[in-house]
């Protein structure tokens, strides 16, 4: 008897009981004997040259063990390499601690003490003499002719440039012949990814073996290992990075930070374990921000309102220096800007600018939330100007299913999808949505359609993009001598539940019950190498495929060994997940596994090591699709927008665990909603951050989030063997735009000004007042 497949079932997550019992072990839960505690010294000024660094008073404090300043750090470390470049990028690596600081919160040193409190006491006693320099905190200001220069040797604040899609002259021709052009300046501000668990590290150096063991709250153990090896001048095989249970990441923890590297340096230097845990205020200035772009975008239409051309000029705020991924998210904005629509031409330019602010990097959506905001707001503006319903304008321009596979002018290849059907179903699902344009509480309906870039690979694309990451994934399955199965994957669980989905895939492929399987990841000593791990919504598609294939191979092998035992053909062997049977004869998996590991009864040609491995490098990325519909109430008296109802039709092909899938979509929408209405990192013009706590940076709370209604379509991917597509970012990407469009629909009088997220009460009040709509 074979149990029903687990793929497609709403299985509870295997990690839940541990978490709910308070027994999940996060990095700050680790305590080692003799462990010291670190505080990072951070620049309190946005731009300055360090003239002197005096740690004498700190070192005199009882309990302070060591202080490392910029000179010590420069002597003992190599700069960290940028891992995603554009051709001609003018900064390609970043020192751990520089003698010129370029943003508030930038690390300048580390204090190590017997307790965290003493480390912070010591940090207060370090005297650093800063010689202030003029600062610039916004990308457009940084491009002004008289702007202060962050790197005077470069002669300007532009450090990276790139062009995408249709060649500029062809693009101009398309605009020159357009019947109608809509042009806007849009903005998606910096946001703080804000995982509830901040960053942290415990580093333990064993002088005897020269091995450094690092537990760190990070998405990518192998990437961390390789960067640490380079920075600390150690061999890769002397560093083991272990991922504890992670309290969220959302991209913010996708690379090694200077802070963690400094704690590791201290551990090696002092030959004692060192712990560093970021606090929330540090997180707002020291952890990379997401988004942060200004966009001049144009949409051209012909006389039938068919889209003919799209042009997006991106001014990318990189912050004080390019992060490891540098312009990466902004490149993705360019490449995904066309979305699910047809155009004859589409192009983009990117100007990467440094400013005296925290660097920007990955955040859920990774440039796609921005491209959706640009495109979908622009489409609504076009609809408003042309007097066409926004849904009708979309319907006329969506790529029909018959055109699949479809190559966009940005050279993205959409594999499968039925976008008109998504829109049709979304209209049906949201049929009860209300629009009210009278009274003091207005109601509007906003739509956004999207294609989601998922399953990043193949390795060749990453090489072409000058991104130092492997696109493949490996899985290894081992049948243990007691008959249990251990699956090793490079995909890290950052809280999303990928471990459960991979367990389901393994169970089906092995024909074994889920509780006989353990999925292990996040340890460079045992996990297959993966530099991207679960980034780019690739965990299930790229990581799951080799799990399936390795497990199938293992099952075939077990059946072969069992068949030989009974002198039968493999086709005559039945396996029920516990034992193998031929007619009346049977052998338990546990017995077969034990015998095989001992080398007993081993058929000719079979090896005793019960392990199978598979490597999968996808042929291409695979594109998921969705249409989001938001109903938003705008209270003209309080200038607040509130999402009252929300509908999603989502297509990620074959869905492995619908419960987890819906959780990803709903949680993603909450983050997109935050971006639409609440979240914005702000700086004073002199580079002073103004949002450094959860009191001035508002995250959505329960009352902000309506219950989301989700309908799934299941158009299998033609790229992944099992038809799966990713969905980790699909909720976040279009939701900001759908909500923005709903606000615009509710108050068309101000719609033309709703171009910069978030549409917070302060913004709305100003616009409503100008339109004489405020109280």
């Amino acid at each position: 008897m074979t149990a029903a497949p687990l793929t497609g079932q709403r299985l509870n997550r295997v990690t839940d009981p541990m978490i709910l019992a308070g027994q999940a072990r996060y990095v700050d839960d680790i305590a080692l004997t003799g462990m010291l505690h670190a505080a990072i010294l951070r620049s309190p000024v946005a731009h300055a040259r360090i003239m002197s660094f005096d740690a004498a008073d700190a070192l005199a404090l009882d309990g302070v063990v060591a202080v490392l300043g910029p000179d010590d750090i420069a002597r003992m470390t190599e700069p960290q390499p940028c891992t995603w470049l554009v051709p001609g990028q003018r900064i390609t690596n970043v020192p751990l601690a520089d003698t010129v600081v370029r943003h508030i919160g930038q690390p300048v040193g580390i204090v190590v003490a017997e307790s965290r409190a003493l480390a912070e006491d010591g940090a207060d006693l370090v005297l650093v003499d800063y010689d202030g320099l003029p600062a610039v905190a916004a990308p457009e200001a940084a491009l002004a002719a008289d702007a202060p220069l962050l790197y005077p040797d470069l002669g300007g604040n532009t450090v990276a440039e790139a062009v995408f899609g249709t060649p500029p002259e062809d693009l101009e021709r398309a605009f020159a012949t357009a019947a109608h052009i809509v042009e806007r300046r849009l903005e998606v501000p910096r946001v703080a990814p804000s995982p509830m668990e901040t960053r942290g590290v415990v580093a333990d150096f064993a002088p005897g073996t020269g091995e450094l063991t690092v537990w760190t709250s990070n998405q990518g153990p192998h990437m961390t290992q390789q960067h640490l090896a380079h920075i600390l001048r150690l061999r890769i095989d002397r560093i083991r990075v272990v991922q504890p249970h992670l309290g969220g990441s959302f991209g913010a923890k996708d690379h090694l930070y200077q802070d963690e590297a400094l704690a590791c340096l201290a551990a090696v230097h002092l030959r004692r374990p060192v712990k560093w845990i970021e606090d929330r205020t540090e997180h707002f200035t020291a952890t990379k921000h997401g988004r942060g772009g200004v966009y001049h975008a144009r949409l051209a239409l012909d006389e039938d309102a068919a889209f003919t051309a799209l042009d997006v000029r991106i001014t990318a705020d990189l912050g004080a220096f390019p992060s490891t991924v540098g312009t990466g998210p902004f490149q993705v904005t360019a490449m995904t800007s066309p979305g699910p629509y047809r155009y004859t031409a589409a192009g983009a330019t990117l100007t990467g600018v440094v400013t005296n602010t925290t660097p920007t990097a990955a955040y859920r959506g990774y440039g796609q939330n921005e491209s959706a905001w640009i495109r979908e707001r622009l489409i609504d503006e076009a609809a408003r100007e042309l007097g066409i319903e926004a849904v009708e304008l979309r319907r006329r321009n969506l790529i029909p299913a018959s055109d699949m596979p479809y190559a966009t002018p940005m050279h993205m290849l959409y594999d499968t999808g039925d976008y008109p059907e998504l829109l049709h179903r979304a209209e049906r699902l949201a049929a009860g949505a209300r629009r009210e344009r009278t009274g003091r509480v207005r109601r509007g309906i906003g739509i956004a359609a999207n294609t989601e870039f998922t399953g990043l690979g193949p390795s060749g694309i990453l090489q072409m993009l000058l991104a130092d990451y492997n696109g493949w994934e490996q899985a290894r399955v081992r049948i243990e001598p007691d008959g249990g199965a251990t699956v090793f994957t490079g995909i890290a669980d950052v809280g999303q539940g990928i471990t459960t989905a991979l367990t389901q895939l393994a169970a089906d492929a092995l024909g074994m019950p889920a509780d006989a399987i353990v999925v292990k990841s996040g340890d460079t000593a045992t996990s297959p190498m993966s530099l991207l791990t679960a980034a780019a919504s690739r965990g299930l598609t790229v990581g799951g495929t080799p799990v399936i294939r390795a497990c199938r191979k293992m099952r075939e092998r077990l059946v072969r060994i069992a068949a030989a035992r009974f002198d039968a053909a493999p086709g005559d062997v039945a396996f029920d997940g516990v034992s193998f049977r031929v007619g009346d004869a049977s052998v338990a998996l546990a017995e077969l596994a034990r015998d095989t590991w001992l080398g007993w009864n081993l058929p000719k040609g079979e090896l005793p090591v019960l392990e199978e491995t598979d490597v999968y490098d996808p042929a291409n990325v695979t594109f998921a699709g969705s249409v989001h519909v938001a109903q938003v109430a705008v209270d003209l008296d309080t200038a607040t927008a509130r999402v009252e109802a929300y509908w999603v039709v989502h297509d990620s092909g074959v869905v492995v665990n619908p419960k987890i899938a819906d959780g990803q979509i709903i949680g993603g929408i909450a983050q997109g909603l935050g971006g639409a209405l609440l979240e914005r990192i702000t700086y004073a013009p002199d580079g002073t951050p103004l949002t450094t706590t959860f009191l001035d940076y508002l995250l959505p709370v329960s009352e902000d989030m309506p219950d989301i209604v989700i309908e799934h379509m299941h158009t299998p991917s033609s790229v992944t063997p099992e038809g799966m597509k990713g969905l980790g970012e699909g909720g976040t990407i279009p939701s900001t735009a759908a909500i923005g469009n709903a606000v615009a629909d509710a108050v068309p009088e101000i719609a033309g000004h709703l171009l910069a997220a978030p549409l917070a009460p302060t913004v709305l009040h100003g616009l409503l007042a100008e339109a004489h709509l405020a109280r």
């Binding site: 709910l20 308070g22 409190a117 995250l699 009352e703």
Partner: protein, 183 residues
């Protein structure tokens, strides 16, 4: 910085714990780093997010905003008390299980605080609306979008209402909460 120390006795999860703490030690740090009850999490250290919520004499408090010495002679309940620290599905109480069934957690960092606040609300007999609005409103979750948590509260309250023995019935009566999430 001249740290004075104080001997205190706190009744934590049913056991008296006597320890010596610095005056500046927070209750959260006492629980986590002295008593090694690491299920209580610290996410903002300023009382906004609710992750560190524990019950002090039965009342939810932000353990990051209290000094450990303020808990001297009082009782503290942490997440580890809910299922006796046992990590098996069978050991979970009704609301813990509903949280899993309804996918009310992802990374789980904020979860212990929510569990403690909702546990107090359930004991106090608060209504389902008050609990989903006001009680959950005191917590920030970055992963779930709250929908699964609200579903778990509704599921638990429904099961409690059906259950003549009320919330004290324990895990054995909790099977009714299974698969009570959205269809």
């Amino acid at each position: 910085m001249n740290a004075t120390r104080h001997a205190i006795t706190v009744h934590v999860n049913g056991a008296a714990r006597t320890t010596d703490v610095e005056a500046r030690t927070s209750l959260a740090d006492l629980l986590r780093h002295e008593l090694r009850l690491t299920g209580t999490h610290v996410a903002c250290e300023q009382g906004v997010c609710g992750s560190c919520t524990v019950l002090l004499d039965g009342v939810p408090v932000r353990s990051c905003l209290m000094f450990a010495v303020q808990s001297d002679g009082r009782t503290v309940e942490t997440v580890e008390s809910l299922s006796g620290g046992e990590s098996t599905a069978d050991a979970l109480d009704r609301f813990q299980r509903a949280m899993s069934d309804c996918h009310g957690l992802q990374c789980g960092f904020c979860t212990p605080g929510i569990l403690m606040s909702v546990t107090a609300a359930r004991r106090e007999g608060l209504g389902v609306d008050e609990t989903t609005h006001d009680v959950l409103g005191g917590h920030v979750c970055r992963c779930t979008g709250y929908q699964g948590i609200r579903d778990a509260i509704r599921t638990t309250w429904d099961a409690d209402a059906r259950d003549a023995d009320g919330p004290a019935a324990g895990p054995a009566a909790d099977t009714a909460a299974r698969d009570g999430g959205r269809a």
